[in-house]
Symmetry: C2
Subunit: 84 residues, 2 copies
């Protein structure tokens, strides 16, 4: 009747997204990228380390824009099972 806790799989998915984003960031600093995407460095750090497993759509969109990656590219690599 309320919002259920995130499943381990959802958390894993968040980790994957984080790893992917971190990889794409490359040498650029967290502070720089976060500022460019209009978010705090803490938030970006948590996203990259998977401690924010289900970030907001526009947050990821801004990041993808700054990092020069396609959203579809990100999503495709992260739609694991999604069974039934």
């Amino acid at each position: 009747m309320v919002r259920p806790s995130l499943t381990p799989e959802e958390r894993r998915r968040g980790e994957q997204l984080g790893l992917l984003l971190r990889d794409v960031r490359g040498d650029r600093s967290i502070v720089e990228v976060a500022a460019a995407a209009g978010m705090s460095a803490e938030t970006l750090r948590k996203i990259e380390t998977g401690r924010i497993p289900t970030p907001a759509f526009f947050t990821i969109a801004a990041l993808a824009d700054v990092l020069g990656v396609s959203l579809d590219h990100l999503a495709l690599r992260l739609t694991p099972a999604t069974p039934a």
Copy 2:
């Protein structure tokens, strides 16, 4: 020093996303699409009507997948000013 409230622009952006999604849904029922995307009909309804201005990334990704639209397609039409 805490999480600030959403700006009117962010809310407008959420409305735009909702309109876009509703448009793409076309004739299919909310119930059907929501079920296919793994979410409740209420949630989809709120997203479409802009009452959830900043939905989760994976939620939109699942919807985009079900509706057969590109995430980049959605994001591009919604990155309004984002100046400086």
